[in-house]
């Protein structure tokens, strides 16, 4: 039984280093204290990153995104917990429900720790660009640069976390292809649900032409995939019109 003294933030570097022996031992046994440690790291790391993301628009936006970013991670984990717990044994990796949940929480803990470490750099970047005051005309390249930086940081954190998750699944399974199938199925499910949660919980960076709000009034109208579909249709229509003879 884990005691309070053996569970501390010192375990986070162990996750980051991907030390397979202790991590596999942690996954083997459910520990409420350890899960609470993961949740607190997710809140702190993803919360700090969310705050740095929203700070460009307004300090209130920073507070809202500091709450929303960890919420997305936890809601995705819990929303897909049953599905992910069933997919693992069905795809050849005989994990218990609690083991699947802990493994996914571990990977999100790694990603959140990485994002939290990058948050001072994002804050510095935001400090160095034109402030997004209400009605301000932000140059397109500035907005795109900030967006691209966020995409890069989040992608890096995600890749690092999933590499460690892959190593863990390889250790728990004697079959590397089963581990790969499970990872991809978890990723697909989490991306699918996570994208829609991001859509519902927008805005994150915000806009100088829209108010600072926790949720947009039309948060529960439409969905992420519809908006992508209409964007593609719109782009095709513009492209088609440009190709038409005068």
């Amino acid at each position: 039984m884990d005691t309070a003294s053996t569970i501390s933030f010192d375990q986070v570097p162990v996750l980051l280093r991907g030390e397979s022996v202790p991590i596999a031992a942690w996954v083997e046994r459910w520990s409420t204290r350890r899960v609470l440690l993961y949740v607190s790291v997710i809140f702190m790391g993803a919360g700090l990153y969310g705050a740095s993301m929203g700070w460009w628009r307004d300090p209130r936006q920073a507070l809202y995104v500091a709450i929303k970013f960890p919420l997305i991670i936890l809601l995705t984990t819990l929303g897909n917990a049953l599905l992910n717990g069933m997919l693992a044994p069905l795809l050849g990796l005989n994990l218990r429900f609690t083991q699947s949940l802990q493994a996914i929480l571990m990977s999100f803990t790694i990603a959140s720790a990485i994002l939290g470490a990058f948050s001072p750099l994002i804050g510095f970047l935001v400090w160095n660009v034109q402030p997004m005051r209400p009605g301000a005309q932000i140059p397109v390249q500035t907005y795109l640069s900030i967006q691209l930086t966020h995409v890069t940081a989040i992608a890096f954190a995600g890749v690092a976390a999933n590499l460690r998750l892959m190593q863990l699944l390889n250790r728990l399974s004697s079959n590397a292809s089963a581990a790969r199938r499970v990872l991809f199925s978890w990723l697909a499910g989490n991306l699918f649900l996570g994208s829609q949660l991001v859509w519902i919980l927008r805005p994150f960076i915000g806009s100088p032409f829209l108010e600072v709000q926790f949720l947009r009034p039309n948060a529960f109208q439409g969905n992420f995939y519809e908006s992508v579909y209409y964007s593609i249709r719109h782009l095709i229509a513009i492209g088609g019109a440009a190709l038409l003879p005068p």
Binding site: P120, L121, N128, A160
Partner: protein
């Protein structure tokens, strides 16, 4: 028949192991700076010891003092307000740059398999900062000569950047040796971080401008990327020359 007397080895005193030079604690600011230049391995060993926190703190303080000194030299170009503003901005800006980049270095260190505590990684960053600062102090007489005999702001700025880059090279070498000491499996993260820190430091000098020039305000009203700022300075200098 020979008798073999039994000798009780437990009563024979074992001579103490002679301490390695690396085990000798580093006390004080000057000792820390000297060790960084002459015995970097000793610094890395001491970062794993019981007085690591004090060593890290001393290295940051020593770095700040060296930056303040170099800042006074940099301020001699414009004189006036810059004699106090330049040292404060250089010391504050560069130490702050190191501190905001420290968490990401710790992450890259962990991802590279480094089994170092946060204080040990902080010590490597403090070491990099201190070596950079110390070498800038070495360049200070050269900078002073040019500062008092040059009219060109872009040329003076370029000179300070070159000195900074040379100093950074040696600081980065210490950091790289530190990663080797702590048995990093991969160096990709470290290389990326070195570029990141350089960009942050260069951008910090632009965010806190003017440092060698003059202005109506202590800090700029307009936000600029450092390459854009440098280009604007060069264009302004060329236009001035053309008008003459």
């Amino acid at each position: 028949m020979e008798s073999t007397a039994y000798v009780d080895m437990s009563s024979t005193p074992v001579p103490p192991r002679a301490p390695s030079p690396d085990d000798v604690p580093i006390r004080g600011l000057l000792a820390g700076l000297e060790a960084l230049i002459r015995e970097p391995r000793r610094v890395m060993v001491q970062l794993s010891g019981p007085r690591a926190g004090a060593l890290v703190r001393n290295m940051f303080i020593a770095a700040a003092l060296c930056y303040l000194f170099y800042g006074v030299v940099a301020g001699t170009y414009a004189r006036g307000t810059q004699l106090w503003a330049a040292p404060v901005k250089i010391a504050g800006g560069l130490v702050f740059s190191a501190l905001i980049c420290l968490p990401s270095l710790y992450i890259f260190a962990c991802l590279a398999g480094v089994r170092a505590r946060l204080v040990e990684v902080a010590g490597l960053v403090a070491g990099l900062t201190a070596i950079l600062a110390l070498l800038l102090v070495g360049f200070a007489p050269v900078a002073l000569v040019f500062s008092t005999s040059t009219d060109s702001l872009p040329a003076m700025g370029a000179l300070h950047i070159v000195f900074g880059l040379v100093a950074y090279f040696f600081g980065a070498r210490f950091l790289s040796a530190g990663f080797t000491h702590f048995k990093a499996v991969s160096r990709a993260g470290l290389k990326f971080w070195m570029i990141l820190f350089l960009l942050v430091a260069l951008q910090m000098t632009t965010a806190l401008r003017p440092i060698i020039g003059t202005s109506d305000t202590i800090l700029p009203k307009e936000k600029k990327f450092f390459l854009v700022h440098w280009t604007d300075c060069v264009k302004e200098a060329v236009d001035k020359e053309t008008v003459k």
